[in-house]
Amino acid sequence: MNTRTLSLALVVAAIALGAALPAAAQKKGGTLTYTFHPEPTAMSTISTTAVPVSLVASKIYESLLDYEGPGMKPLPGLAESWTVSKDNLVYTFKLRKGVTWHDGKPFTSEDVKFSIEKVVTPFHSRGKTYFGEVSAIETPDAHTVVFRLKSPVPYFLRAFQASESPIMPMHGFTAEEIKEGKIRTAKIMQAPVGTGPFKLKEWKKGSHVILERHPGYWKAGKPYLDQVVLRVIPDGAARAIAIEKGEVDLAPMSGLPPAEAQRLGRLPGITASQEGNEGLGPIMWLEVNNRSKPLADVAVRQAISLAIDRKRLVDVIWYGQGKPASGPIVSGNPNHYDKKLGPLEYNVDKANKLLDAAGYKRGKDGVRFKLTQNFLPYGEEWVRQAEFIKQELRKIGIQVETQSLDMGGWLKRIYTDWNYDFTSNFTHNYPDPTIGVQRAFISTNIRRGATFSNSMDYANVKLDALFVKAAQTADGPARNKIWEEIQAILRNDLPVIFLMEISYTHVWNKRVHGLITNGVSMYSSWDSVWVD
């Protein structure tokens, strides 16, 4: 435990010191091998932003900015400096000179304009969220890019992460691919050309990916590693064995079964960390169909929330890989989370009284009413969690029947058919709650067929107005006030039952250093990671 605290302190110190850390501490050379399953389907997040792709693509491609710390403070990246106009409508980026693509060609402002206009905005899953308000992108010279916005976007400077707005080479696409909009299936998605610290050396499908150092990388002396290798190991137990044997150095993003992550984290040579995910903000809840009769009653939803022992859920079902949720925004978000919020109350008596008062009397068998639950088909923990919820709700006289569906069936039932009572669900805050929180609760997002939207049929005019206001207010105390109000409303209305801030656990061999740098550490370039 002491060693862990110490290494944590060292990581924090390393972040604080940044480049000032003595060069002797870092070793140049060597290979970092990580494992994840499923394997990536492409080498660019334009194709898909699924986790395995984001993991590998963020080493190959860069965006205009870098980020530091859990609050994602913007730092220079491909852009050396930037200015924002007073009305927050004009962003001017000065690009770094002398940056080359992996194929040796120079990087210019034309690449940035092309990437955002033709690639990111139309094809990235969040492209329109980030750049929907952009009215023009100007390139006055080869190293200046100007973004003009129709209205302010408070999270605009957080959009320039490698996995969110990768800058791709215009010359990497054929005229036909651009003309016919065949961007997602373009050849470059499989054979990447980026500006990042690593370039693709070998991809043996189903087996491994080897990235090697980009010798022309613009950061002097970086990257430290010679190679980053991905080993595809489909079986969770086999991944754990590979880490234990030292064949693999890192299993990022909860790549191991929770029980294995907990077990390995206790071994002397291995670290299990839940840091570095603040910019993703993973959160889990019970999505409740507010159309379904007893669940439309807020007293019933509050009773359900009171009946669940979240602490036990985290410890027993998830082996400590997370913490009880206190609302829609994760507590790791240093900018928007309301620190005054305590944990959601666990009180079975109170829950029972609430249901009695609301007129839901117990029958002879002790049952007040019956509900059907679905669960996210992501693996056995989700099945066990469903069993746990069933037991908890039995205590307040709600009989639960569990229904199992695979992903295709689950998505259709929840988001197209709206034919469910409640289901476990897992989503992300992303770098800003306007991106990650609003979509689940704003009433304009009650749309049949839209996945991970407002499937609950929850509509609150006051909340809608607050979301719109938050989306237009510049980040700062005034905006935080709005988010506090939103958190209070959702905690009271409980259109979903917030369960837990599920943590992405990263398990690594202690020979690896410098992994945790910001709120999306596993989607960072790893140019400063080194191995003993």
């Binding site: 699924a50 899953s125 909009g181 080993r231 234990e244 197209t416 990650g436």
Partner: protein, 326 residues
Amino acid sequence: MRGGTVRFVLRRLAQLVPVVLAIAALNFALAKMAPGDAADILAGQMGHATLEFTQQLRREFGLDLPIVEQFLAYMGRTARLDLGVSVIQQQPVIELIADRLPATLLLMVTALVLAIATGVALGVAAARRQGTWIDNLISVSALLVYATPAFWLGLMLIVFFSIRLDLLPSGGMMQIGVAQTAVGKVLDVARHLILPAATLGLFYAAVYARLMRASMLEVYGLDFITTARAKGLSEGVIAWTHALRNALLPVVTLAGMQVGHLLGGSVLIETVFGWPGLGRLVFDALVQRDLNLLLGILFVSSVVVVLVNLVVDLIYGLLDPRITHK
């Protein structure tokens, strides 16, 4: 005689076309019955997708067309041996299959050869010593292996040979990032192949051992074996030259039929051992509703199964000259 065989093969190949197309049509219908589509899954994997984005994905991959149109397009493509583009992987299906088929074939063929060789040898040994402790040992062991789940057996083999003894790698098909000579590469793959092939092969070895034993005992009861014994031939010669050839027919039949099963079994084995084959791909394609990929793999595997059964028919003729191909 040879001309007859050639004509037989050509006729069977011609028959193969409608059979495979019928399988393709049936596969399409079955796959379409499952709820949800790949656009939903892909949008879901991206975590944050608007309805417009999901619909854009459907348009990009032709999933927005009426189902009849999708079916006709699919059958037209299949007839031209064009397997389309995978929605989830966003690459031509034929490339995805070509990347992984060799690994699966290597695993399957090795496992099958291992299973037949071991199964036949044990089956013959048990039959020759019917009722003795050797027979009992072989029969009971075969039953035990037959009843053991393959994925569990695989994990146990990893624990024993890889973790405890540190003799063999725990997974993968080759060492990554190590420069090797051609011979070194072959040996490296062979080392990685031992555990998965043994796991997959052992189950079938048990099946063949039991079948072979029964089949041998049946042949031992026939008149020509009595004649051979009366001629004074040694038991070894009788077993390996006279009885075996006749007793092999059911094993060959079963092996041919089991090629399809073997492909199914490789899903589990490939998962446990991280073997980069088709098995895992077909599983992912199924749960991700990646229709083109799923149908493509099923198409290729149905062609393989039909072809293997053709080969089995030809082997009949070799084993038993009384069987002719007309």
